[in-house]
Point group: C2
Chain length 372, copies 2
């Protein structure tokens, strides 16, 4: 049974002042003489007074709570983002409500509604659909401060923080090309949502489709891959692109095994995220290809754990926690300045060289196909 709480009225009575005065010193607003202040604080302390933030929020119209909608807190990607957000929130004594959408629009909608019911001061959303987002638009139009993270939404002009996927994939693949690789496989999800297709992206001359920023990160990373080839004056080979179509390490492994065992196997593989990387790792094991001796591997992921097992993997490391922190800061600024211009930010991942990208030319013969 919850014990009866002591209210401002109780404190006021004991201190022989009005509730208004007690409220002013306890809530730290308005004037109060030092003497009265002392008296009230003493009474409050004696009664163990704790302010009721619910009542305060009802009046002030702010809850000092923010909400987050992400795909799945279990994924290390989101877990770190959340940690970054949480750090900023906790240091400002702001509550953080989290919800999972499982990348399903309907659940995302319900999450947004829950957060609006809770009257959060703002929300950070990793939208699961870049088009089908009427609920996000509605929330924005209702005046709820909002920051998009990792992905953007067409026509939703709010603060956003994502990764420079195109640029960093481009730079990473350029490194592979510079090392002499000419058959570089790309293993990526490249799901068919949002109207993007392999065909469309491959036939759009640089700098690629103008709406690329409203598509999933894996498409952006594919574009970087293509641009790197274009920059080097090398025609990309369509058969090197493994479109996994689902976010599954198992399917990725199957696709990778297939290409590794083909007549013209790749000498390097670029994986677009951690799940694809796990699949490719399993595939290299299955076909008996050693990294980096038989095949170079560049992963768009931190590879935190794989590092233990295969020290030589190159990685494009995503500053996930920092993205979360930045998202939280953008949101808090937006809350205090609701009418500022929306800011579109991209963070640049860090390319971690661990020795997997090796100069290829002198021993082209011995690599790739030969080992399999």
């Amino acid at each position: 049974m919850r014990k009866a709480t002591t209210t401002i009225a109780d404190v006021a009575r004991r201190a022989n002042v009005s509730t208004a005065t007690a409220g002013r010193v306890l809530g730290n607003y308005g004037y109060a003489s030092e003497a009265v202040r002392k008296k009230v604080q003493k009474a409050a302390h004696e009664l163990g007074y704790r302010p009721n933030h619910l009542a305060r929020s009802l009046i002030r119209g702010e809850t000092r709570t923010i909400g987050v909608v992400i795909g799945d807190i279990q994924s290390p990607f989101y877990a770190r983002i959340i940690r970054g957000i949480s750090d900023v929130a906790q240091s400002s004594e702001i509550g953080l409500i989290i919800t999972n959408s499982d990348e399903v629009v309907d659940l995302e909608r319900k999450s947004v509604e829950l957060l609006m019911d809770k009257k959060v001061d703002g929300m950070i959303v990793s939208p699961c659909d870049t088009i089908n987002a009427a609920h996000l638009r509605a929330a924005h139009e209702a005046g709820v401060p909002m920051v998009l993270i990792d992905r953007r939404v067409r026509g939703l002009d709010v603060d956003s923080i994502s990764l420079d996927n195109v640029g960093s994939a481009r730079a990473g693949v350029a490194d592979l090309l510079r090392a002499g690789h000419r058959r570089i496989a790309l293993v990526a999800e490249l799901a068919g949502t949002g109207g993007m297709t392999l065909d469309r992206i491959m036939t759009t001359s640089p700098p690629g489709p103008p709406d690329i920023h409203f598509h999933y990160p894996s498409w952006q990373r594919l574009l970087g891959y293509l641009l790197a080839h274009h920059d080097a004056g090398i025609a990309p080979q369509p058969e090197m692109i493994c479109q996994v179509k689902s976010y599954s390490a198992k399917v990725a492994a199957e696709k990778a095994v297939k290409i590794l065992r083909s007549d013209a196997p790749p000498t390097a593989i670029f994986t677009a995220d951690g799940v694809m990387s796990a699949g490719v790792m399993a595939a290299t094991k299955e076909v008996g290809a050693r990294i980096p001796d038989d095949i170079s591997l560049l992963c768009f992921d931190d590879m935190d754990w794989m590092e233990f097992m295969v020290p030589g993997i190159d990685a494009i490391s995503q500053p996930r926690m920092q993205m979360g922190q930045m998202a939280a800061r953008l949101l808090m600024e937006q809350i205090s300045q609701p009418d500022a211009e929306p800011r579109v930010m991209e963070m640049v991942p860090r390319h971690i060289q661990r020795g997997s990208i090796r100069a290829l030319l002198p021993r082209e013969e011995g690599r790739g196909g030969a080992a399999l």
Copy 2:
């Protein structure tokens, strides 16, 4: 700018009824004739009325929000627990506020205060100290429903859900002994908090120290290790116990390398958690010991990722998501029945046999030391 919200008064005016009546139909409490109900609902719909849960909470004394205090959301262990909690919460349209304590009592205290300020209906806590927990006791005495997860607190008699660490470690190590292993290393954190020491646990005859359930899981798993030896009538060798003392894969690796290179190396290693496992994996790699040919490995962890690299590792898999779900259910029951007896629950982990535990006797010579 947040748009003006429409209130019950607005709806009542448009429907030509009193606010009390409008409230009754909109809040779904009390009587209302079908005709009035229709009228009010129509008006509410036309005005886009959304109830203000803040006001409702203030009166009803419930927020339909629960809070969680964990060590670090980034750790896969906690991330899955949170996911389990979140699933139960979201399906009941209950908000979930999460906070990280980083296993520091002071941060845990601040987290608990934040949650109490938010007037959560209850909280799930993974306490970072089994003794120093006055803030938890205070919250409990103030009547806040509480469920402890993973660890318990001395003298705090509330619902708890943890793992049967002693029993499952005992069973796992028994399997190793049964396979013929006699030099089984244990790599565990075994930090010196709470007054438990190696000395104390080794000199307490079975079933071990009576307060073992109020110590960290790694101590409980050590006890299981010792009991398995006792059950088999085999004296455990103190030099086989690697007390890492910090939650660090790096230090674990150092300790493991040392014992693997000793004169009498182990033929099997039992690791007490995922971090220790990662360290041990790195160590086996460093000394060139193959798993399971040179050394058997049993990890108290899911080994989700290592499975990709080393298929043969045996694991004691913790039902983390289920623990989270169970914690949430316990909490919700406790909220609706505040005066029920506290329940102490233990979940039994699943032993996943992947072929690492091999019968040892026929080729004892070739194992362990020989390979190093």
